[in-house]
Symmetry: C2
Subunit: 165 residues, 2 copies
DNA sequence: TTGAAAGTCTACTTAACCAGTAGACATTAT
DNA sequence: ATAATGTCTACTGGTTAAGTAGACTTTCAA
């Protein structure tokens, strides 16, 4: 049930880019203030730059990122963080979420058991698929950013309160 | 997010053995009537016998199965179907359920991000891990058998009613 | 108009892992 | 004894994961 490094790095990079998006002055042109270069992401997230390059390119070809070439260029989100789900990112980089193909929505294949409808394994794996998709398809980049922020705040609250109590 | 063939075959075999367990006369000795031979499972479930051999051995060494050697021997569940979860089986054959190790209960490893507590990826992957474990650790072999039975019944109901309506 | 700084694209590499096969061995019932 | 079973270990061929390399293109700015 593993997420590959591709998937992991891709998600980290997208979160990084979502932060840039949010921090960019609004009202500015599409790319301005939101472009981030591969090497900056690679450095911050500790990802091999050449590997990240491929990953971002894949994400771009899938329509999740836009890019600007040349000096001052880089990558930026193709859509606001609210409308990019982690499920989408993972599917692009790691393929179907389903543990076995006979319960996959995006890459269904019959598994060859005599009766798929009444296959115990299939029914359970469908639950697993739905559980995974339930999380990943309902979490978008904005949710992730918010969660980081509130977790940080909670931590600050705790440390500032402890000495008082 | 894939389940390996090892995992898939192992689950199918365990469900097969659970059926044998349930069909065995109760009150009989531990093994009697419940032993099933590798080649029978392999045939029914269309699994390469030599591969299945390894899988069952692994499951035995993990304490989920018992076996009887020699003529008339075979494998049988070490515990009643109610007390063997699919989560346990999958962990034995495929390792941790968690998508990344920094959210794994059975094989935790730090992922090296500056602040694990406030890592957005980690928080979301923890949700995913919990979603998977929620299904797999709360589904046991008896649940699977019951579900197969009720699904079959529903199908029969449908076919017998359709001509009437 | 040139060159440096970015992304683009394709091929390659190395190691690990997956799925399966092979075969010698141990145990048990008849 | 011997045939039917499980036990154990090694091997293999193919695929994938993770990363590296390098030539190419586009853009900006001096």
């Amino acid at each position: 049930m593993r997420l590959s490094k591709r998937g992991e790095y891709g998600l980290r990079a997208m979160i990084d880019l979502a932060e840039a998006f949010r921090n960019s002055p609004n009202g500015s042109s599409e790319a301005a203030g939101r472009v981030v270069q591969i090497k900056d992401i690679a450095e911050r997230e500790k990802i091999p730059a050449k590997f990240l390059e491929q990953i971002l390119l894949t994400l771009k070809n899938a329509g999740l990122l836009h890019s600007k070439m040349g000096i001052g260029g880089g990558y930026y989100l193709a859509h606001p963080p609210e409308s990019i789900t982690l499920g989408h990112i993972v599917r692009v980089l790691d393929g179907p979420l389903a543990p076995i193909r006979c319960v996959s929505q995006m890459a269904y294949e019959p598994c060859g058991c005599p009766d798929e409808e009444a296959c115990g394994l299939r029914l359970t794996m469908l639950d697993v698929r739905n559980a995974i998709a339930g999380v990943l398809d309902h979490t978008n980049l904005a949710n992730v950013l918010d969660r980081i922020a509130t977790t940080r705040t909670q931590m600050l609250d705790r440390t500032s309160q402890e000495p008082i109590l």
